[in-house]
């Protein structure tokens, strides 16, 4: 899987890394049980500090997308059932996206069609 980082972006690198890894898992490009690169190697390849990658991995671990083992390193977690806390987070993010779409003049049908199209492209490998 290819991760692309925009070093000129206002979005922090660790957030970009986190988002791309999550998208990769969602699309099935990173499969369940697949090992991620070591912190050191990923930091080398990205040209960032190891603490940035550590932060990314810790965030992904907290969110339940990966598990971190001292011997095996970071691996992609299996698909889990969502919980109430996740639903609240999703609602908040969708509310913001919906508000932006509405303010840009996008209709409900178009918005939902776009969501459906993108969601259909997600097929995390079990």
């Amino acid at each position: 899987m290819l991760i692309s980082l925009d070093i000129g972006s206002s979005i922090p690198i660790y957030v970009q890394l986190r988002n791309q890894i999550v998208t990769g898992i969602g699309r099935g490009e990173l499969k369940e049980g697949e090992r991620l690169p070591t912190v050191r190697q990923l930091a080398q390849d990205a040209g960032v500090n190891t603490m940035t990658v550590n932060k990314t991995y810790q965030l992904l671990k907290t969110e339940g997308f990966i598990t971190v083992d001292r011997r095996r390193g970071a691996t992609v977690s299996p698909v889990r059932q969502w919980d109430e806390r996740y639903r609240e987070k999703l609602e908040a993010e969708l509310e913001l996206l919906s508000a932006e779409a509405r303010m840009k003049g996008m209709g409900q049908g178009e918005f939902l069609s776009l969501c459906e199209q993108i969601f259909a492209g997600m097929c995390p490998a079990d």
Partner: protein
């Protein structure tokens, strides 16, 4: 002695000249989306100004190299008259040759970049993008022979140095000191090759394609070649010292033939380190030419002066885009500037010391 010096310097000059001429000639071909070290759109390769610039640069390059190879070969004749003058003149010539070569590479790159700016061929987004291939990163540490293979060579050099020193210590003419110096030199070379292997083979990967298989193939090829080059060079370096130490131990002193064998083995170290690259580079070009999903990162802004200068890149050494097998400093890092200053001072200092010794003799 004269014939020995003549042949050694002649071979060195011919080998260096031909190598430089061939390796840097690749910049005149459109490869990895670049011409003369600058990314330009494929459809602009046959633009009249681009073609004219490439033709002129290629002509000047070949002319310069041919003249320098001829000059370098001629000055070797000094070996028959005065070794000291030969060395001094050769150093001056070689430094001027390198300086001239840098100018011959940098000026066309700058002109091409200016042309690119004037024509608006810069892709803003790809300037700031860094690509990482997770599959490549994951297996990166397992490419090529392991670094610990240098350890037995280091151990052998240390053991032999200690044994021969113990045997020859106290003899007249201080051979013990010479044993220590040469033994330490052999071990220093091993440590340097080991450190370079650790740094270059385990450093950053380069993403060429959206296809992980291509990235793994190319990076694996380059890293394996480096690792094998360092290991084979170290083996010959170790063999050279072991041979000398054994002869020293057997006969108590060394003859010209022994030094000749030592020099040959050290030369073999350099040759075996460089030989695999021709094949590796041609395979690399094949892989990249066959790839239909190349990744384009336009970071010419950091190369526009002819050297790499990127304050946002934490790496000290990066792959030299004008020469696939070489690395260059990131001049935005203060350490890089200090190293260059240090090397320059060392060179000037050595030349000054040599000149002073020659004057003293006169």
């Amino acid at each position: 002695m004269g014939i020995f010096l003549f042949i050694t310097f002649l071979l060195c000059d011919l080998f260096t000249g031909m190598l430089c001429k061939y390796v840097y000639q690749q910049n005149f071909k459109y490869q990895n989306g670049m011409l003369l070290g600058v990314h330009i759109p494929k459809e602009q390769v046959h633009c009249p100004q681009v073609e004219a610039l490439c033709a002129r640069s290629r002509r000047n390059w070949n002319l310069y190299q041919n003249i320098q190879i001829a000059m370098g070969s001629l000055l070797c004749v000094m070996g028959f008259f005065s070794p000291e003058w030969l060395v001094l003149i050769w150093i001056v010539w070689f430094l001027l040759y390198l300086a001239g070569m840098s100018v011959m590479m940098v000026m066309p790159l700058r002109k091409m970049y200016r042309l690119k700016q004037e024509r608006g061929w810069i892709r803003e987004k790809s300037r700031r993008t860094v690509y990482i291939d997770t599959e490549l990163s994951r297996i990166s540490g397992r490419m090529g022979p392991r670094a610990y293979w240098h350890l037995p060579l280091l151990a052998a050099e240390l053991a032999v140095t200690a044994a021969v020193y113990a045997r020859l210590r106290g003899q007249s003419g201080q051979p013990g000191l010479e044993v220590l110096v040469l033994g330490a030199a052999a071990m220093a070379v091993t440590l340097l090759l080991w450190a370079m292997r650790l740094y270059l083979v385990e450093k950053r990967n380069v993403v060429y394609s959206q296809n992980s298989k291509v990235n793994i193939a190319v990076n694996g090829l380059v890293k394996r070649t480096w690792a094998r080059a360092f290991l084979s060079a170290d083996c010959f370096n170790c063999a050279a010292w072991l041979y000398l130490a054994l002869r020293w131990s057997q006969s108590g002193s060394l003859y010209k033939g022994d030094w000749f064998v030592y020099a040959l083995l050290q030369l073999a170290a350099a040759v075996t380190a460089m030989l695999p690259w021709e094949n590796a580079l041609s395979k690399k070009r094949e892989f990249l030419a066959a790839d239909d999903q190349p990744v384009e990162v336009d970071d010419d802004e950091y190369w526009k002066n002819g050297w790499y200068e990127n304050p946002q890149d934490p790496h000290l050494l990066v792959q030299n885009r004008l020469c696939d097998t070489n690395y260059t400093f990131n001049m935005a890092r203060p350490v890089a500037r200090w190293i260059n200053v240090g090397i320059s001072l060392l060179l000037v200092g050595s030349m000054g010391w040599l000149a002073w010794m020659m004057i003293e003799r006169l």
